[in-house]
Amino acid sequence: MGTSEPKAVSGANPGEHAAHASPAVTYEAAKLGIWTFIATEVLLFGGLFTTYIVFRTKFPHMFHADYVHLNRVLGAVNTVVLICSSLTVALGIAAIRKGKQGMLRLCLVLTILLAAGFLVIKYFEWTEKFAHGLYPGTDVFFSLYFMMTGLHGLHVLAGMLVLGAVLVLAGQGRFSESYHTPVEISGLYWHFVDLVWIYLFPLFYLIG
C-alpha cells in the first residue's frame, strides 16, 4: 500500500478520520496484527528449537540412536500433505482476490481435509511409538519429539478451527473481491504452521 491516505478535510478534529478508517487501512492493520502474532509464535517454538540444539550438541549419540525409530516415509508424506494444504490456501486467496467465491470454498474444504489427514497420520505415528514403548518420558530425544510435534499438532488443530470458521463465513457469502481480510489473515497463520513443520521434519526424521 504505497498510496498515501487522503488528508482529513476537517481541520478541527483530525482524529475523526481515523475512526472511519478505510478498508485498505484496516486490512493493513490486520496484516501487521497477524505478523505480530506470528512473531510470538516464532519465539514460542524458538525456545523449543533452542532446547533441541542444546541437547543435540550435548547428547549426539542419543539423537543418532533414536532418530532411526521415526518413520521417515510417514514424515515425508506428512510434509507433502502440509505443502499441498499451503497451496490450496494460497489458491483460495488468489481466487477470492478475483471474487471467485465457489473456488474459495472448494480450496478451504480441501485445506481442512488435508489438515485432518496430517493429524490422522500423526495419530498413527504416535500410537505406533507408544506400542513400541517409546514415550515422552523415554529420553530427551522423545521428550522433545512429542513436545514439539504435539505443540505443532495443536497449531494444526487450531488452524482447522480458524479455517472452518472462515469457511462458514465464505458459505454465507461474506467475502468478495473488495473484502476478504479474514481469508488473508488465517492464510498467513496457516502458512506459518507449514513453515514450522518444514524445520521439524528434517530435525527429527532426517538427521541423526
Binding site: V42, G47, T57, L87, D194
Partner: protein, 92 residues
Amino acid sequence: MTKEHGTGYGIYVIVWIALLVLTGATVAVSYANLGLMNVAVALLIASVKASLVALFFMHLKFENKLVWTFALVPIFFLLLVVGGTLSDTLFR
C-alpha cells in the same frame, strides 16, 4: 504497491512443485551418509523451502518495508536466544 491483484494461480503452482522437489531432494540426501554435511544440507534445503513459503505463499515478496520488519525482527531475536544460550552451554 498498488492493489494486490494480478497474482495468478500459476506462480503458486510453480512454488508448490519446487517445494515438492526440494522435499524429495532432502529425503534422498538423508539416505546418504555425509556426516555433518547431512545436517548442513538438510537445514539449507529447509531454509530454501521456508523462504519460498514466506516470499510467495505469505506474499512477503509483494509487501512493504513495514511488514518485512515485522517478519524479520522475530528471526533476529530467535538468533539472539540461540546464540546467547549456546555461548553458555557450549563452553561449560
